[in-house]
C-alpha cells in the first residue's frame, strides 16, 4: 500500500498494475466513508480522474453531488476550489483578472490575480445556471490545461480535474451546456436517489455527534506527482486493434446517416433508433473516452490489456451526454441511455 509515508523514490518507477488497483480501491473506500451508495458513480469519477478527463455530475438536489466532489478532493489531498455558478457570474470571475496592485515602494502595477480555476480539482456547482459565455471560460482550461487572461497564457498545475454538477430539474433560468462544452467532459455520471437502506445509513452518518472523516490517500507534497504517474500508467495499457475497432464502431453507430455531417463513409452498423431519434452522434472524443475508461477498468482488474467488456461498461457514461436527440425522441420519450443500449446491442455481434 502506498501512502504519504511511503514516498521516496520516483513514484512512476515504483508503480505497477497492482499498485494502481490498490490505490484506486483505497480511494474508493475512503470516499464511501462519506458517500453512501453510488458505487458506480464513484468508480466512474475516479476512473475519469486517472484517465485524465473531466466529469459532469447530474443529479437531483440532495443526492450528494457537492459532497462527493469535496470528499474526492480531501481523499486525494489535492487543492480544491468550488465555484457556484450563477447567472451573473462572469468569465473573469472564474479565470482571474489583472488588477492594479500598489507595491511597497508605492509603485502601482498590473498584476494577474488567478481565479478559482487555478487548482487541481475544480467543482463547478450547477454549471447550467451560468451563461454560455461564462461556461465557455472553462473550455480552454479543460481541454488544454491553460488559461489565457489579458493576452497572457497561464498553465494550470497538473493534475487538473473539473467536476461540474447539473441539476436536471428547476430548469427555469438555466442555460443548457453547449455541445462543445459537453464534449469536453469525459463521463457524465448520474446520481440517483438512494435506496431505503442507504438512506438510513446516510441519516446515521450525518446526524450523529461525530462526522465521518476521511484519510487522504496521498501526502500533500506528492499527491499531484503520484496521480500523474498513475495517469501515465493508465496510458500504458495495451489495446488490441480489434478492441479499438470495436470502440470506433460503437461511436460511428451513434451517428445518424447524414452525409452532411458524417460524410460519405457510413457506419457498417445501422441502428434504427439512431436514425430516427439522433440529431448528432458522439464525437471522436467519445471513442477516446471509451478507450481511456476501459484502460482504467483493465488496470483495476489486474490486466495489461483491455477487453470488449471494458468498453461496454463505460459506454453509457462516455456516450450518453454526447448524443443529441431530436424532437421525435423527446416526443416518444426516448433517452440517450436507450440509444446507447441499442447501439451496443447492434454492434456487439460484429466483434472479431
Amino acid at each position: 500500500m502506498h501512502n504519504e509515508s511511503e514516498s521516496g523514490a520516483t513514484p512512476a518507477e515504483r508503480l505497477s498494475i497492482g499498485d494502481f488497483a490498490r490505490i484506486f480501491r483505497r480511494a474508493q473506500s475512503e470516499i464511501h466513508k462519506v458517500i453512501v451508495g453510488h458505487e458506480r458513480a464513484v468508480e466512474e469519477l475516479l476512473s475519469a480522474l486517472f484517465a485524465g478527463g473531466h466529469v459532469l455530475i447530474e443529479g437531483v438536489p440532495g443526492t450528494g453531488k457537492t459532497t462527493l466532489v469535496k470528499t474526492l478532493g480531501l481523499v486525494l489531498n489535492l487543492s480544491f476550489n468550488r465555484i457556484q455558478f450563477t447567472v451573473d457570474l462572469m468569465p473573469a470571475d472564474i479565470t482571474g483578472t489583472r488588477v492594479i496592485i500598489s507595491g511597497s515602494d508605492g509603485r502601482r502595477e498590473f498584476s494577474f490575480q488567478p481565479g478559482p480555476i487555478f487548482c487541481h480539482i475544480l467543482l463547478g456547482d450547477e454549471i447550467n445556471r451560468a451563461t454560455p459565455k461564462t461556461q465557455s471560460a472553462l473550455l480552454e482550461a479543460m481541454a488544454e490545461l491553460q488559461v489565457t487572461a489579458g493576452g497572457t497564457t497561464y498553465p494550470l498545475p497538473p493534475p487538473y480535474f473539473v467536476m461540474a454538477t447539473l441539476n436536471p430539474i428547476e430548469m427555469e433560468g438555466t442555460y443548457p451546456l453547449p455541445e462543445a462544452q459537453l464534449d469536453r467532459f469525459m463521463f457524465k455520471v448520474r446520481l440517483g436517489y438512494p435506496g431505503e437502506d442507504e438512506l438510513v445509513k446516510i441519516i446515521n452518518a450525518t446526524t450523529g455527534p461525530e462526522e465521518a472523516g476521511v484519510t487522504p490517500v496521498f501526502a500533500p507534497d506528492e499527491a499531484a506527482e503520484r496521480i500523474e504517474a498513475l495517469k501515465r500508467l493508465v496510458r500504458e495499457v495495451i489495446v488490441a486493434p480489434a478492441v479499438e475497432q470495436y470502440a470506433a464502431r460503437i461511436v460511428r453507430a451513434t451517428q445518424p446517416d447524414n452525409p452532411r455531417i458524417i460524410g460519405e463513409q457510413r457506419s457498417p452498423v445501422k441502428v434504427d433508433v439512431v436514425n430516427r431519434y439522433v440529431s448528432f452522434g458522439a464525437s471522436p472524443r467519445g471513442a477516446l473516452a471509451l478507450i481511456m475508461g476501459a484502460k482504467v477498468r483493465a488496470l483495476l482488474d489486474g490486466r495489461a490489456n483491455i477487453a470488449y467488456e471494458d468498453i461496454e461498461q463505460f459506454a453509457p457514461a462516455a456516450l450518453e451526454h454526447r448524443i443529441m436527440l431530436n424532437y421525435a425522441a423527446h416526443s416518444d420519450n426516448v433517452d440517450a441511455a436507450t440509444i446507447v443500449e441499442q447501439v451496443i446491442k447492434a454492434v456487439r455481434p460484429t466483434r472479431v
Binding site: 498494475i17 495495451i238 495489461a304 490489456n305 483491455i306 477487453a307
Partner: protein, 433 residues
C-alpha cells in the same frame, strides 16, 4: 536470458493458439463435409424413391424440387462452415471468450515487436502464460468430431429405410397384376387393349361412348400437336424426359407411350394414321362413297358388321368425317354379323362380346377369315395396371410367345361359318344365357 524465456513463453502461447485454431477449423471443415454428404445422400434417395413411385411428371417436379432444396441447403452449409472457420485473431477472440481471459490472447497476438518487449507487454505475456491451462485446445473446443456426423449417420439410416420401403411398395404394386394382362389408362376412358403385350398401333375396342371420347381426345391431341408452343407439347416433352430419367434411375424399361389414332380401313386420311391395317378384300371396298367403318356398316349382310358405336362415332364426327353414312340403324338392320363387335373390336361380324341381339348371330359364311378393319386404333397412352393410382408408372408384363400346337388356333377373329339349323337354337340359347 530473461528475454529468451519471455520469447519462449510467447511462442508457447502462440503455439497453443494455433492448435486451437486448427481444431476449430477442422470442425468447420467436418461440418461442411458431413452436412453436404448428408444432404446429397438424402436428396439422392428421395429422387430414387420418387423415380420408383411417381409418374413421370410428378417425378420430374419432385426431383427438381429436391435438387433445388439440396442445392440451397449445401449453399447454406457452406456459408455456415465459412463463418465457423476462424482467422488467428478470431481464434484468439473465441478462446478469450470461452476461457474468460478478457482479451488477453487477442492482445498477445496483436502485440508488435516494440510493444512486446515493453513492461506491459512482458506483463501481459507472463500473465497469459500463467493462465495457459485455461486455454488448452481441449478446453476451448472439446470436440474432435463435428456433431454433423450425426446428421450424416441419420441421413444414411433414413436413406436405407426409404430405399427398403420403396422396394416394398414397388413389390406390393406388382402383385395384383395378372399375367399377360395390361390395362391402358387413358384418363377416364376405360379402354382395354386386345393384346397384353401392347405395342404401338395396337388395336383396341371400345363402346360407342368411349369411341366418341377417343375421337374428341384425338382431335384435341391433333390440335396440340399442331401448336408446338402449347402447354401439352411441353408437358409431353417433359414426360418423355422424366420417363427416360426414371428408366435410368430404376433400371426398369418403360415402353414408349402408345399413340392412339382412329382410322378406318381406307386409312382415315384426315387422321394420318401411322399404322394401317392390311387391306381386307371386303365387300365394303366396293362402296366407293363410303369410307372407313361407316362404309363397312352400310354393306348390309354382305360385309363386316359395323358396330353401333361406330355408327354413333361417325355421326359424332371428330376425326371421323370420312364416315358420314355410318348409321346405326343401317347396321342393325342389314348386318348379319355380331352387333356387339363394337365391344370386341371385330367389325366384320365376328362375335366376341355379349349383349348383342341373338337374332343377328347367324348369317352367310364369310369368304375368308375376317379382319378387324372396322377400326384401327392407335393408343396414345401409358399402359398401367388396374390397381395403380392415376399417373403411376405401369407394370409391364413380359412378352410371352408360345408356339401353338396343332389343336390350337390363332387368337384372331373366327370367320363366320354356316351353322346347321338344328344347332342354331342351341347356340342361341347358350348365347342368351
Amino acid at each position: 536470458m530473461p528475454q529468451q524465456a519471455h520469447e519462449q513463453k510467447l511462442w508457447l502461447i502462440l503455439f497453443q493458439l494455433r492448435a486451437i485454431r486448427a481444431r476449430i477449423n477442422s470442425l468447420a471443415a467436418q461440418y461442411f463435409a458431413f452436412s453436404s454428404l448428408a444432404i446429397i445422400i438424402l436428396a439422392a434417395t428421395l429422387v430414387l424413391a420418387a423415380a420408383a413411385l411417381m409418374s413421370p411428371l410428378a417425378f420430374l417436379l419432385t426431383a427438381l424440387l429436391i435438387t433445388l432444396m439440396a442445392l440451397i441447403s449445401i449453399v447454406r452449409v457452406t456459408r455456415v462452415a465459412v463463418r465457423s472457420s476462424v482467422s488467428p485473431i478470431k481464434a484468439a477472440s473465441l478462446a478469450d471468450e470461452r476461457a474468460g481471459l478478457k482479451g488477453r490472447l487477442m492482445t498477445v497476438l496483436s502485440l508488435g515487436d516494440a510493444r512486446r518487449n515493453s513492461e506491459f507487454g512482458q506483463f501481459l505475456v507472463e500473465d497469459t502464460y500463467d493462465r495457459r491451462n485455461e486455454f488448452e485446445p481441449i478446453k476451448i473446443e472439446p470436440r474432435w468430431f463435428s456433431r454433423s456426423i450425426l446428421a450424416l449417420a441419420g441421413s444414411c439410416l433414413v436413406a436405407l429405410l426409404l430405399l427398403r420401403v420403396t422396394r416394398l411398395a414397388v413389390g406390393v404394386r406388382r402383385m395384383p397384376n395378372r399375367p399377360n394382362q395390361v390395362i391402358a389408362e387413358l384418363g377416364n376412358l376405360d379402354i382395354r387393349p386386345a393384346d397384353p403385350a401392347l405395342e404401338p398401333n395396337a388395336e383396341i375396342y371400345a363402346d360407342e361412348t368411349t369411341m366418341r371420347k377417343l375421337a374428341n381426345k384425338l382431335a384435341s391431341a391433333k390440335n396440340d400437336q399442331a401448336d408446338n408452343s402449347s402447354v401439352s407439347h411441353w408437358l409431353n416433352q417433359a414426360r418423355r424426359f422424366a420417363s427416360n430419367l426414371q428408366e435410368k434411375l430404376t433400371g426398369q424399361q418403360h415402353k414408349p407411350p402408345l399413340e392412339l389414332r382412329l382410322t378406318d380401313k381406307d386409312g382415315m386420311s384426315s387422321l394420318n394414321p401411322p399404322y394401317r391395317h392390311p387391306p381386307i378384300p371386303d365387300q365394303n371396298e366396293s362402296d366407293g362413297d363410303d369410307k372407313g367403318v361407316a362404309k363397312s356398316g352400310s354393306d348390309g349382310g354382305t360385309g363386316p358388321t359395323p358396330s353401333p358405336a361406330v355408327g354413333q362415332l361417325a355421326q359424332g364426327g371428330a376425326g371421323l368425317s370420312g364416315i358420314p353414312n355410318a348409321q346405326s340403324g343401317q347396321a342393325s338392320s342389314s348386318d348379319v354379323g355380331s352387333p356387339e363387335s363394337s365391344a370386341t373390336g371385330a367389325g366384320d361380324g365376328v362375335s366376341h362380346g355379349s349383349g348383342a341381339d341373338p337374332e343377328h348371330l347367324f348369317g352367310p359364311p364369310a369368304s375368308q377369315p375376317m379382319g378387324t378393319d372396322t377400326f384401327k386404333i392407335t393408343i396414345d397412352a401409358q399402359p398401367s395396371d388396374e390397381s395403380s393410382t392415376a399417373g403411376a408408372p405401369a407394370y409391364i408384363p413380359p412378352k410371352v410367345r408360345v408356339p401353338l400346337n396343332e389343336q390350337q388356333s390363332a387368337d384372331e377373329p373366327i370367320a363366320r361359318a354356316s351353322v346347321p339349323p338344328g344347332d342354331q337354337m342351341t347356340i342361341k340359347r347358350v348365347f342368351e344365357r
